[in-house]
């Protein structure tokens, strides 16, 4: 399932030429619409790498897990710290699992 | 930001923004027939003297011409406030419509239009015209000129 952009929150990275999600997307799928809000132009080509979700500075992007892995209520949410990343995984029954990784790469 | 004031109903709240510059009264076409002017009514409201404001004879004179509203530097919808106050005064019984007004309203309610002849009769019922002879002469004159059906 392609990334879903919260249009209320997205500020188009202040209407710069390339928003952060566009810069990080490996498939070059995210782009700014005419209203200066980001959207995924080829939802079928998205492979759910979640780069955009992690990069979004205002937390406007949400990735839904494809139905083959979990039905539509299932969610995977990253939270980026300076040298930590946490994942919250919510399955279709609402069961929550959390993971934390300390990654030394980001600040060094 | 308008804060809540005790005792002042919502629709009268804009009155508290008034700075008493008097522009409303200066431009009011009916204000000088009475001791009361829109500015004074608004001032009474500001102080919270609701009943005194509601009993002001000015409310009956206001023609809703909006001259006050257009000129107000504080953006107070003066005529709206006066209208709301008038309604309130009617509801509280501070202002009692006289026979003419009562009949007028009743007629509008019943028929949706006014029969002036009947209105004259009903409103004046029980009261002698102040100048019966002159009125009679006028009637004759009007009949002669074909002004009455």
């Amino acid at each position: 399932m392609p990334p879903k952009v919260d249009r209320e929150k997205c500020d188009g990275c202040k209407a710069q030429q390339e928003p952060l999600c566009e810069q990080v997307c490996p498939g070059d799928l995210m782009t700014l619409g005419e209203d200066k809000k980001a959207y995924c132009r080829m939802p079928r080509d998205c492979w759910d790498c979640m780069s955009c979700t992690k990069a979004c500075p205002v937390g406007a992007i949400e990735t839904r897990i494809p139905y083959q892995l979990g039905y539509h209520l299932a969610k995977l949410i990253p939270m980026m710290g300076t040298n930590t990343i946490t994942w919250t995984c919510i399955d279709i029954n609402g069961k929550v699992e959390r993971f934390r990784y300390v990654n030394r790469g980001r600040l060094d | 930001m308008m804060e809540k004031r005790d005792g002042l109903p919502e629709e009268l709240l804009p009155a508290i923004r008034c700075v008493q510059c008097g522009k409303c009264s200066s431009g009011c076409p009916v204000a000088f027939d009475t001791a009361h002017t829109p500015r004074k009514v608004i001032r009474l409201l500001q102080r919270g003297w609701l009943e005194e404001a509601g009993r002001s004879p000015f409310l009956g004179f206001c023609a809703q011409c909006q001259a006050c509203t257009v000129r107000c530097p504080r953006g107070v919808q003066v005529s709206e406030v006066l209208l709301a106050l008038h309604r309130l005064a009617r509801a509280k019984g501070w202002v009692r419509p006289d026979g003419f007004h009562r009949s007028f309203e009743e007629m509008v309610r019943q028929r949706g239009r006014i029969n002036e002849f009947r209105l004259g009769l009903v409103a004046q019922a029980g009261r002698l015209p102040s100048h019966p002879l002159e009125d009679l002469l006028l009637l004759v004159k009007m009949l002669l000129r074909g002004k009455l059906p």
Partner: protein
Amino acid sequence: METPSSKTGLFFWDQGGRLGKALDLNWLLSKLSKTKGISCCSLLEDPWGPEGLSQVVEKVKKGELGRLLWVGRFSREQQGILKEKLAEEGLNPYLQEWCDLEEQGVCRDGLEQTARSNKALLLIQMCLARVRLLEPLAPVEIPASESLLVIGAGAAGLHAAVSLTNLGKEVHLVERQSGVGGKVASLHRFYPRLCDPRCGLEFSIQTLIDSGRARFHTLSRVVSLEGGPGNFQVRLEKRPRFVDEARCNACGECARVCPVQVGVSPDSQPQGELPGLPAAATKAIHPSLPMGFPMAYVVERQHCPPGCRECERACPSKAVGLDQEPREEELLVGAVLVTTGWDPYPLFKVEEFGYGLYPNVISNLQMEGLLGSPVEAPKEVGFIQCVGSRDERHLSYCSTVCCSVSLKQALYLKQRRPDASCYVFYQDIRSPGFQEELYQKLKDMEGVTFIRGIPSTVRPEAETGRLRLRVEDTLSGREVNLALDLLVLAGGMVPSQGSEELAQVLRLPRNSLGFFESHLQCHPEESQRTGIYVGGCSREPMGVAASIESAQHAALEALRFTGGSVLIDPRYPVVDKTKCDKCKRCMEECPFGSFYFDENEFPTPHLGRCRQCGNCVGICPLAAISLRNLTIKQMAAQIQAASASFMDGKEPTVFAFLCQNDAYHAAKAAVEEGFPVPPNVVFVKVPCAGYVNNALIADALALGIDGVLIGGCEDGQCHYVKGNQLVRKRSDDLSDKLQKMMMDRDRVRFVNLEIRDSEKYTAAIEQFVQDLRAMGPNPFKI
């Protein structure tokens, strides 16, 4: 600078034995001396005695200690002394850090001794984490030009320029019109001394000429401004004067032969035609306006008939050159003063008084012209105050001068024509300070009537043209009917025409009313762009005296960026170019517009423009910006050190980021004044709440800290314009994310704290701790 040794010295100073009473100091010392990187750990008896610091100094001198951490209560002055003393021994002042356990409430809160010692240990370890990452820093010197630019050569600009030239600075005065003097030159008299304003202006001009350090750029405007404080590159566009200033001596031969009569030159004051006044008769070639300085004529070429070169032929000194082209000039200045002043509010917009329709309805500025001219003064004159001012449909503010202006004009009218009757229609007479005297004088004068009430409209009598008006005298409740010969409308001030364009060129923010934004209170003349100062009416409506004062104050502030060089505090931000992906958010959101693109198009803070508030650190989505003395890495290390629990298993822990201008002082005072601050909190101070990056909050939560509190200023009170709003928006976004993660969104909380809000701070922490208990432990806690 080379990286200094990582050997850390840790020194306790237990003033009055308070720490010793509350904590197990021996346990702390033994525990800390085993910590990695600590090469010396001891308790100082009396650091201020003659031999008190010898041990430390000795070790630093020998190079045994590369960085120091002082634990105890050191005042800011004492910190300064230590910095200075050890700098003599070669220790960079930025390699020392202070850890005040008392302000964190270790000595007061209701824990037992072991828990207290645990908390103290954690606090010291937090500081140590930061000390390990400290870097030696030194102030940076940036070059600063010796000259200044003053935009707008009215009364304010001229007086500021005089002050600056007196101090030996070079001043470039830029003026849009053909001559200097501005609005004040067109006044008849000005209060409080009621003398002719040209006297003071002439004096200023003479002083400027005598100094030899002032350059006048008339008919010019600023078209671009690059660089930063100390080093602004300014480009001026100069309209042609068609007269050579160096040759012209204003003999006036040219005007005698000029065939074109221009009524009122568009270059002059926007006065329009006055009733009964001869049209301000000028030729197409005329002296500089408004007061004939520079002493050279100017040609209004748009009025010249094709092919006419009469003036060129007539000029005895060959000064006229009708083929001049616009020129550009580049200047290098250290600081910019904006004194662009005001324009009268266009009174035709206030339709009810018929300004522009009836010839005898004039503005107060026109009245100045009338009083200064020889025509006979009218007999019955009305003054309407607050025309368009304090009016929601026009100007919402009070222009502060119009009351006194009308009083002054009424006084002059009475002097010119003792049998005149003046009527002043007012809402409130505002005559602050000594101007009250003027009011009282007029109140007692015969033939001057003050009527508290504003007319609603004005009608001219068909045959006489006199103005009829009706007004309610609100104090007596009576109707007043009058017929007047002249009606003077006291209009308000709006920012001058050019200020919108100038705001774009200088990238200077303006407030909703169009005036240039400033702090108004603490730094009234400081604009939101460092090195650019706003004085006089371009900032706020004010009278002549106040605007001169304001401009001179601006000049004083501007001196900072002149004089050869400026030392910049080394705590400025740096962008990590290996991580920056040029998203430009910092450029957009920096409150002071201090970022520019370097040669590789990376956003780079301009050292001069930057005010070191750290908002960019918080803004950066990639956490790629750091203040040099408070890097994001240092902060992350502190958070990591703080994540070890110091409370009992079930008690929640709170990590607080406090703005060092307000919230930090409130927190400190809360402990000192004995408020029951819960022991569950540890705080760090940040230069502005806007420093807090979401990644830091995420770190704290991911590492198991139960709640994060951000203490910032009240809305509209942030020292750095909008840091509190920015962090609030970001932390709200993070809260939304927490909610999606099935966590309590309230784990991140923002509190407005003023500097004396100790009680509010205590209550907020208490409430937070209570709520966190109800929420249960952070799910990421391991």
